[in-house]
Symmetry: C2
Subunit: 391 residues, 2 copies
């Protein structure tokens, strides 16, 4: 027998209760989850199927694959239409669906399967729930942070003179994978793509990307226009490493910048400004703080340092300096000028105030933090200064 | 100046004409594309935005990011609402949208942006168009096949005694990446996930997966339950390698099976049956052949060999033996019992008749073929017999 739910009874009950609190607040009487990340949050595993959660009573788990799972509420189905009959007795008011993620065709099919009942969007509700991590989830993120930091500590030893950005990235990928990195870089939605993260050297950092990442890069092929582009790593360049921290199903997001020889004083100044911003924001980031206030704090420090034109990109600028992270890389809250998010204890947030300096490349750091009562605790502890690759 | 369209004028015109032929056949007067894979098909690059294709007249390219692209019909927008005003004059009848891919919320937003005009699903139409590759696309697939085959030729040299399945996979990943593999494993839709493909050793091949892949495997973590699970590679095991062939933005799909020492006679027999099926189906697969007829041919060969219980899985069986491949791994046609697809010249199809043999593991091969007038031409040429990892 293989249990469906891989969480402890207490943890499973805790997560269900968090979802139900949000349902009560939004007057949603039942919802149906099918997104991989939401199913993983709920059960501790990914399966093909659905989870039906009523405001009261037993949840039902409709499973197409894999075969052989057992547990309370498990019902095997071959197609979504089979759910309608099973659920008909319990539906009361609109059915909550992940309308920000489910394809239009899938929604119309579900709608028919349930007899054309009203439905309501619960994507924002689930994003809010997942934005506050449980202690068990924070431990998973913490574990990823330890492995992530270890991999970064190996980078000066991995580098060899004459490497391109892509060659260095490949060797870091290998070390990360041998350290337990799962590889998968989970992003909510279908529009952003990246493979094992980004490594940017020199002028390539100026290339704009189509994606909503903080930094750009031309990429190795126009089918995946982000990150390394085959640039030779040369003296005077910065080497920004922002690579995959998914070691447990829960990710950390972490960036460190390396250099070959001396980089320009402007780059050194901007890198220090990034470190200073992370520390100031982490200190200010107590529960109850508006996310946009943290963005404004960062922006003011940038302006005071006279570095505005290089901040978050040169020709194309990213509109945020931080974001929630967990099962996916783009969770809530978002640290941006018009964000309405308010920091809560248990948020896990990556801060990445970065700069692109002409001729040098991208500089700055990124850490992942958990919001505690007295501020943000860093989960990606490692030296933050720019590290020379050849001594 | 950076041109938006990275295809030659002739190739761009050819792809537009293929889309328009399908539009005419389906009486669709205009469509709006936003899926990354469809944009890459159309323009040779991925960008954030939309492509508007009327049945006649100039296409329009609405771009959010990256900055700096130029070309006929390029219009920069910040949000989809800006398209409504630009397009209002040209809309005639329903607007074609990718309803199998676009989230429900995105469709309702687009619907409002265009003044609540009727819309129609063009996902199937675009899948049909992309199922027939142009000569230029076939060359991209062929290039991937050459690199893919080369990487597989290195596998016996990569293996070291005492490796786990995951360790061998990581070293193959590195060699593939150094050979130019882009890493990204494109799958249409948001429900299937995999990282650089699958390597299955021994009994792990019996573990069912939630995904619609031909083979399973428990994976290294329940957040990504597919492929290698840390099994030590031991004598008597088969080692099935089905890893990423995306070297150009166009993928080949290729599987080879390796062994440590001798495997059971049943495994040897099943492996040969897989090779025989590939050859027979490739010979029979001329344009005009119903895909299901090819499935039936394979099924008959399996039954004649008395191997049915091991075919396409042991406890959980995949329902197909082949699938289209190109920009994504799950294109048309599908070689399955109830497929309505008819083979067309220019289809690129991966055939993967595989078996799971108790105690030994997964055996069989997979090749990617292009459908020619006289049958299917193999694009993943490499020895097909089971290859011993220790000599």
């Amino acid at each position: 027998m293989t249990p469906l739910v891989l969480l402890s009874d207490e943890e499973f009950a805790l997560r269900i209760s968090h979802i139900r609190e949000a349902m009560n607040e939004a007057s949603v009487k039942q919802l149906l989850i099918t997104d991989n990340a939401n199913l993983f949050y709920l059960t501790g595993r990914v399966y093909a199927g659905y989870a039906y959660i009523p405001a009261e009573g037993l949840p039902l788990f409709f499973i197409r694959r894999p075969s052989g799972l057992k547990g309370d509420g498990v019902v095997y189905i071959r197609k979504p239409e089979e759910m309608g009959q099973t659920l008909a007795i319990t539906i009361d008011g609109p059915l909550g669906l992940e309308l920000d993620l489910l394809p239009y065709s899938a929604v119309t099919r579900l709608d028919k399967a349930f007899g054309e009942i009203p439905f309501v969007n619960v994507s924002p509700l689930l994003r809010q729930v997942r934005a506050v991590k449980t202690p068990a989830q924070i431990e998973e993120v913490r574990k990823s942070g330890i492995h992530h930091s270890f991999v970064y500590s190996r980078i000066p030893h991995i580098y060899r003179e004459g490497m391109t950005d892509n060659e260095l990235q490949i060797e870091i990928e290998r070390v990360a994978r041998l350290e337990g990195c799962l590889g998968q870089f989970r992003i909510s939605g279908d529009t952003m793509e990246i493979y094992m993260g980004s490594l940017l050297v020199g002028k390539n950092a100026e290339n704009p990307t189509p994606y909503d990442f903080a930094m750009g890069g031309a990429g190795m092929n126009p089918s995946l226009p982000v990150g390394s582009d085959g640039t030779l790593i040369a003296p005077g360049n910065s080497v920004m490493v922002d690579m995959n921290g998914n070691f447990t199903g829960y990710m950390t997001d972490m960036t460190r910048t390396f250099r070959i020889g001396e980089v320009s004083p402007l780059a050194v100044k901007a890198h220090q400004c990034s470190i200073d911003i992370c520390r100031a924001v982490a200190k200010a980031g107590v529960p109850g703080t508006p996310a946009k206030q943290l963005y404004e704090l960062a922006e003011k420090m940038v302006a005071d340092a006279g570095l505005h034109e290089y901040f978050m990109g040169l020709h194309q600028k990213a509109g945020f300096i931080g974001h929630g992270v967990g099962i996916e890389i783009n969770e809530l809250p978002v640290i941006a000028p018009r964000s309405r998010d308010i920091l809560q204890e248990g948020n896990v947030i990556a801060l990445e105030p970065k700069f692109v300096i002409p001729k040098t490349g991208a500089v700055g750091i990124e850490n992942t933090y958990v919001v505690r009562a007295d501020g943000m605790e860093c989960l990606t502890k490692a030296p933050e200064e720019m590290i020379e690759l050849i001594k």
